[in-house]
Every structure is written in C-alpha cells, then in structure tokens.
Amino acid sequence: MVEVTTDVTLNLYLLAVLGFGVGLIAGFVGVTGGYLITPILIIMGMPAAMAVGTGLALVTANTLIAVIRHKKLGHLDLKMGLITAGGTMLGAEGGVRLLHILENYGQRLADVVILGTLLATLIFVGVAMLREVIASSRELANGSDDASAAEEGEINTAACNFLQGLSIFPHIRFTKSKLRISGWIVFALGAAVGILSGFLGVGGGFILCPSLIYLVGQSSLMAVGTNLVGSFVGVTFSCFRHAMFGNVELGIALTMLLGMSLGTFIGAQGTSYVRGLAVRYVLAASVTAACFGPAAKMVYFLTDAAVWNTISKVVTVGQILIPVIMIAVLLLMAYRHVRGSEVPEWAQRLMAPQSHSAAG
C-alpha cells in the first residue's frame, strides 16, 4: 500500500495488475492508454490533478516505447508528426492552464468537469467507432471491395476529400503519407488533441488517430505512427508542466509502467495474428466500456451516495476486463487457427491472412 494523501492509500499490486490490463489493450489496439489510466487513478481515490499528472507520466513513458518501435518499422511521417506536435504543444499549455483555473474554483468542480469532458469525448468517439466497425463488418461479410480497401487502410471519406481540397496557405505535400493538405488543418487537429492532453491527461491517440484516417486521409499504419509523434511531444510537454506543479506521483507511475509494458509487449505481439477489423472491434469496445466508470463516478459526485463510488470502482475493473477478455479470446482463436484446429466462423473472419495460410 502507498499513501498518496493523508486519507488516500492505494494498493500497488492492484495498480500494477490494472497497468498490465491497460498495457495489453494499448499494445493490441495501438493507443497509449491514457483514456483508461486517468479515470482509474481518479476512481481509486487520487485527487484529479495528481491523477492527470501521474497518468501523463505513465503515458509519456509508454508513448516513447511505441515511438521507438514504430520508427524501427518505418511507420512515421515525421513532417506531419512535427506539425501536429506544434499544435499539440500549444493546445497542451492551454489545457494545463485551464485545469489550474478550474481548480481555483474548487477541487470538486474540477473533478466533475474533468470527468464530464472525458465522458462526453469517450461517448462521442466510442459511438462513432462502433458505427464504423459494424458497417465494415457487414461489408466484409458481403465481400465488398470497400471493406478490403478499408482493411488495407485506404479510407476515402467525404470529409478528407473536402479538407484536402481546401486551399489554405501553406498547402503541404506529405510525401511519406502520399497526400497534400493545408498545414493549418493538421496543426488545428494537433491543437485540439493538445487541449485534451493537458486538461484530461490523455495521450489523445484515440482521437488523433481516427482523425488522421477519416479527416486527413492517411493510411491506418501511417496514422498510428504519425499520431504517436504528435502525442509524444504533447504528453511530454504536459507531463513537464504537471511535474512543475508537483502533480506527478513517480513511484506509482513507475510501478504501473512495469505492468503496462509487459501488457503492451504481449498485446503488440498478438496483433500479427488478427485482422485490422478485430483490432478496431476491441478499440471500439474499450472506448465504449471506458464510459461507464466515469459515468458512475459522476453520479457519485452529483448525488454523494456512497454506493455509486463502490459501483464506479467495480465498473472500472470491468471496463478493463471486457477488452482484456476479448483480446484473450481472439488470441486463443488465432492460436487454434494457426494450429489447424476448428474455430467458429465469426473468428475465422477476424484472423490475419498469414494465420490462414499457416493453417492451410
């Protein structure tokens, strides 16, 4: 047990196990996991500002690991990443200042606003992802060409055609991503994510990554790497600013990092056995499930009924367990498929082509 404040003690083993679960999800779906970490720390009883700072320290370290990994794989558009990063830094500074202004009005108000904003963002992104995944799944079942293109990451939405067509100076050619778009649009996306990063303590990958795919028109693989560059600069800067205010509980961050890294390692290894659609299923389920913990905590803040505090803790463990169970089932199915054992039809559709061939 570690004492965070005079009346709050946290179980380190539980935090390391939760870190492992978050790492498994983060490694599998390619996000930094900040949207899960901050609510966990708040729900476990940490003051909001400290939870945001500590979560950011953890996300910074985990994003660095991911950036090094993607650089090695060649999935980085550095030019776009750095423009996004510029916007993210500006936005992050705004987010941190906003949080401290809010804290001057009272800790309780800050907690409610942070949880409320996080909840609204998660619901918006979760619903949008679920709709897209269900549509892709139907198209894949019907054998549509659009589905296989989307599987390869070539998604051409009306929004990205419109944004690429806007001639706002400077119109930049991103050779690595094979597209031309105004630098201001990329910068604005980074700034929006930066505000969320500084204010909520999230890496912002769960917003920036889909934005780069559906709004900018990047391929899925390049979007993951590029989003990580932007996120890394943003979270590093936010972490530095929070550390200046003494908001980072380093011992807790490092303990959770140990569990999280192990989970990320296993999760990342697992992605080579499944299709992109399976990964998006887990991401959509994870983001949607992540809404319930903050929602229960919000009810507790608003009603002061202790039962909601207990419910929020149970739901927080559940929101990590659901995607973890999904990943475990998918990996078990992939293992059976590779070994040539029988797997249900729904699982066959979600297996990576190499595991099909390995089975054959």
């Binding site: 910074t60 370290a61 690991i65 600013r241 205010f245 303990t255 390692f265």
Partner: protein, 91 residues
Amino acid sequence: MWLRHGGLLAATMAVLSVAAVAFGAWFTLAHSGDWQALLDSLSSSGMGLATLAVVLLSGWLMAIAFQQAEEAVALFRKDSSADAEEEADRG
C-alpha cells in the same frame, strides 16, 4: 545454440532494463521523503525536468527491454525450428 547466438545476452539485457525501472519505482516509493526533499530543493522548472528525465529514462529502458526480449524470443524460435529441421533430417 541460443546461448551462442546472443539469446542469453538479449534476455539478460531485457531483465536488467526492467530491473533498473523496478529499482527506480522501489526507490521513489521507499525513499519518497528523500525524493520529495530533493525535488523541493529545485526550482519548479528543475522539478519538472528532474521528474521528466526519470520518466523518459524509464520509458527508454523499457523500450530496450522490449527490443531485447523480442530478439531473445526470435532467436529462441529460430533455434527451435533449426533443431526440429535437424532432427527431421536425421530421422
């Protein structure tokens, strides 16, 4: 074979990197008073930089641990399949 091809070295590097981060976690928890006193003696920018340095160093060490662990696993798989092929040839 695994030993000769650097598998043990890679695994040792991975374990040592993780151990260094584990030591950092233990130190900042067990000596939180000393760590806090050190941070308090610095300016707020120094405090931010010191914390960030530890965070980035830990991330970098875990990235090394990742790479080395993957290398050790890959070498182990390569050696296992080579051994299996050798057995099959003999058979």
